[in-house]
């Protein structure tokens, strides 16, 4: 075979290989945490439409959901996420530290510490609130069954744990007392799911427990889906400002050539439409105008931040959730 024919054969092969089976122009994988299914279902459709109109390019966004900690480990282990939208910054820090897939200062790249929306922890109780649960002291009462996921695997559970612990710290003034409080709280927890959506299933569908310590958006969704005749939301006197962050996974987008669309995808979360979608799905939008528009649906609540009370995620993780930390010491399965 002559060189020319050989080159032609290779070119044909490469061309066929490149064309391959029918596929979208661009495909993104968003690895997210448990309760964001509905949010990103709406947002993905809106962004795909926006991107198509702006760039005449079809983009298909796939999402993966699970406990935030588990999702982070999956990315560290090789799951090719173009973007991560997890429950807490520590999980993305882990991806940066252990897999070196993005820079350590990833949180400075987008506004509001890369958290386009916030949420908090509230109580979901059964209609009529038969156990009269009003505040954090009520969830440690004897005979009150509390449903909450495992903070070792769930970001929402870590927020809930810290909200409770922060309340106890503020009320009782010492770590020792707060530790007693949190010990009593987890004695009231009959089962630990691995993620927030699993806990919602436990409480709502399986009829277990008197109160669900829930993401605010998840609680609103449950009431909306199942009706106010079955559940009520109880807003405690104080809770934590939960800031779920987002980031592009640099090494993946550079390898796959998806950086441009991945960055646009996250920036679109801050757009007016992105913020509207977040608010409609009961996430508190960062945009003051959009928040004001939806202010009626978000109860007023005194919120503290993790930085204020726990000195940031790294410290909170090490003290409470690392192997051998406070949670491992106070939680005895089956109690």
């Amino acid at each position: 075979m002559s060189l020319k024919k050989w080159i032609s054969a290779v070119a044909v092969t490469v061309a066929v290989f490149a064309v391959g089976p029918a596929r979208a122009d661009v495909e993104l994988l968003n690895v997210s945490y448990d309760p964001t299914r509905e949010l990103y279902q709406d947002f993905n459709a809106a962004f795909a439409k926006y991107w198509q109109e702006k760039n005449n390019e079809k983009v298909v966004i796939k999402t993966s959901h699970g406990g935030s900690g588990k999702q982070a480990r999956a990315v560290i282990d090789g799951l090719q996420a173009d973007v991560v939208t997890l429950a807490l910054a520590y999980d993305i820090d882990e991806i940066a530290d252990k897999a070196k897939l993005l820079p350590k200062d990833w949180q400075t790249r987008l506004p509001n510490n890369s958290t386009p929306y916030t949420s908090t922890i509230v109580f979901l109780v059964r209609k009529g609130n038969p156990k009269h649960i009003k505040d954090w002291d009520d969830v440690v009462r004897h005979g009150v069954s509390v449903v909450v996921p495992n903070p070792k695997t769930s970001g929402g559970a870590r927020w809930a744990y810290l909200a409770a612990y922060g309340y106890a710290l503020k009320k009782y003034g010492s770590d020792a007392k707060a530790r007693e409080y949190i010990t009593q709280l987890y004695k009231n927890v009959p089962v630990l799911d691995s993620g927030a959506r699993g806990s919602t299933t436990t409480f709502v569908e399986r009829g277990i427990g008197d109160v669900l310590l829930s993401w605010e958006n998840e609680a609103f969704l449950a009431v909306k889906e199942l009706g106010p005749d079955k559940f009520e939301i109880v807003v405690p006197s104080i809770s934590i400002l939960a800031e779920p962050p987002v980031s592009v996974v640099d090494k993946v987008v550079d390898k796959r050539g998806t950086r441009k669309v991945a960055e646009a995808y996250l920036q679109y979360l801050y757009s007016e439409e992105g913020q509207e979608i977040a608010a409609r799905n009961f996430y508190r939008p960062r945009d003051p105008g959009i928040f004001a528009k939806y202010a009626g649906q978000f109860p007023k609540i005194n919120l503290f931040t993790i930085d204020d009370v726990f000195g940031g995620w790294q410290k909170a993780q090490k003290t409470h959730f690392a192997d051998g930390g406070v949670f491992d010491q106070i939680y005895q399965p089956g109690n």
Binding site: L3, A9, T13, P21, P190, T202
Partner: protein, 538 residues
């Protein structure tokens, strides 16, 4: 009722009600307690059930992360929890014997080449196979062999398994051409293959596109290959050379071959059971011979070549019954010597078909190989320097098989293990004997008689110097009838026996002539061989 009486009755009623109240209260408390207990029990049951669900979910998630080790009908395997990575280890061993009957004593005066083979036991094939998947989409295959005590790398390739319809394979693989050749040798109906397989290439290094279209009814393969095994078959007596079964890794020239194959099972997705496993195909192989086409076109032949690039052909008894002159020449051949050599392109094509229905099976194929072949000489014919002939050799075979114990017959995949799976594996204590299969075949090869031409020659010496093949040692035709009985002990172990009778014509043997110093050319003596093979493939 008078007012006084009414008051009394009312008072009495109120009193009775007041007195009975503690009794009612006590019952209500009990009910409340029972209700509370029921609710607590209900919660406990719900919690236990939910805990079971969570445990199951966690176990399923853990299973996805935990590698699994399997020893099953696919061999030994290790697989990652998510199935994306896998290693399988297989292998097979063929312990053969050959018994030549009736030609152990050569005919009086016949040349040694026409004699039968040596009765022998041998390790025909001993191979390991490492295969699996890396990263979900990339399959690999590595097959070292120790056939007859010689270590070699039979095949090694990586397949980008993008979709069933579209795969890309790079490495050393079986050239997509011959139907019998493409099935694993562990699955051949007979101990030794037919003449058609002698005209087809075996393993080659290259790249191919392949896939299965239209609900698996249509397989296609398109390969670009070195063509080195085709060209090196006669080099220094390379093991397996001479009948295209060689296994060469290195290329010695820029010429490349192209193979294309299409195989269709048009009734596979219909309700016609009898035709579901009917397959019809066609394969084409174009090989550009390195002996300089331009020089050939200009009718200026080179003075030296590195390879004769010609095949020789073997009988079912694995005896060479046809070889071109100089077939055993050394690697660098001076064209002034007696070696014939290939020039220009070689084209092969093969219509092929198989059909399986219940315990019955038929495989049929035809192979034609067209090749220009030249031979140079200066002496003793000083004025004649070249003999070039267009040579067309062809062969065909038909094999029938019947599993008399009723198991399904099937085309043997490239995977080890038998295509016939006994319903009742061998277990003599319980009266199970496995499966038995009867096989029969007819195959023949017709080589182009032009190989014996010596244009322009006027003397016996000139003829001998110009002929591409020597009719005294190279038979033009061979016809084989084979019968066999195969005993499948189980999926992995079988005993094959077969008996092949091959008749040759058009030369291949000699007798002394009537005049001193002359010989008479005879047909090569009939070959009768009984084979046995005990095979373990796992």
């Amino acid at each position: 009722m008078k007012n006084g009486n009414r008051k009394i009755w009312i008072t009495a009623g109120l009193l009775a009600g007041a007195l009975s109240q503690p009794a009612w209260s006590a019952g209500d408390d009990e009910i409340q307690q029972l209700r509370q207990q029921v609710e607590e029990l209900d919660q406990k049951i719900r919690i236990l059930q939910r805990q079971q669900e969570i445990d199951k979910e966690n176990a399923a998630a853990k299973a996805k992360e935990t590698p699994s080790v399997a020893v099953d009908n696919k061999g030994f395997g290790i697989k990652s929890g998510d199935g994306a990575n896998e290693l399988r280890v297989n292998g097979y061993l063929q312990a053969d014997s050959r018994w030549y009957n009736g030609n152990l004593t050569p005919p009086i005066g016949s040349v040694a080449a026409a004699t039968g083979g040596v009765d022998t036991f041998l390790i025909r094939r001993a191979r390991l196979q490492f295969s699996g998947t890396i990263g979900k989409y990339f399959d690999y295959w590595l097959e070292p062999s120790f056939d007859s005590g010689e270590a070699a790398l039979q095949s090694a390739y990586i397949t980008a398994n993008l979709a069933p319809e579209f795969k890309v394979q790079v490495g050393k693989f079986k050239v997509p051409f011959g139907l019998e050749r493409l099935q694993s040798s562990a699955n051949n109906s007979f101990v030794e293959t037919a003449f058609t397989t002698g005209l087809t290439p075996n393993y080659e290094v290259g790249a191919q596109l392949l896939g299965s279209l239209f609900s698996g009814t249509t397989d296609y393969q398109l390969a670009v290959i070195n063509g080195s095994a085709l060209e090196n078959v006669n080099t220094n007596g390379v093991a397996g050379g001479g009948n295209n079964s060689g296994s060469e890794d290195a290329d010695n020239n820029d010429a490349k071959g192209i193979a294309a194959r299409l195989f269709v099972r048009p009734f596979q997705v219909t309700d016609i059971d009898a035709l579901k496993k009917l397959g019809i195909g066609f394969a084409y192989l174009h090989d550009n011979n390195p002996v300089q086409a331009t020089a050939y076109n200009n009718l200026v032949l080179p003075t030296t070549i590195t390879n004769v690039n010609l095949g020789s052909y073997r009988s079912p008894g694995q005896q060479t019954f046809f070889a071109y002159n100089g077939a055993n020449a050394t690697a660098v051949i001076n064209t002034n010597t007696t070696a014939a050599y290939a020039v220009g392109t070689r084209d092969r094509w093969s219509p092929q078909a198989n059909w399986y229905y219940g315990p019955f099976g038929v495989l049929a194929e035809y192979v034609r190989s067209s090749q220009d072949i030249a031979r140079n000489t200066l002496s003793p014919v000083a004025t004649i320097t070249r003999n070039i002939q267009s040579v067309d050799n062809h062969a065909w075979q038909i094999v029938g098989s019947w599993v008399i114990t009723g198991e399904d017959e099937a085309y043997g995949t490239s995977y080890p293990g038998s295509a016939v799976v006994p319903k009742h594996p061998f277990d003599w204590r319980n009266g199970n004997w496995g499966a038995f299969e009867v096989v029969a075949r007819y195959d023949e090869q017709d080589n182009d008689p032009d190989v014996y031409l010596a244009p322009g020659a006027t003397t016996a010496a000139q003829v001998a110097a110009l002929q591409l093949a020597n009719p005294a040692t190279a038979a033009q035709q061979a016809r084989d009838i084979g019968l066999g009985l195969n005993w499948y002990f189980n999926r992995y172990v079988k005993l094959q026996t077969s008996y092949d009778v091959t008749n040759f014509s058009g030369g291949g043997g000699t007798l002394p002539g009537a005049l001193p110093g002359t010989t008479l050319i005879l047909d090569r003596p009939q070959e009768k061989v009984f084979f046995t093979r005990l095979q373990l493939a796992y």
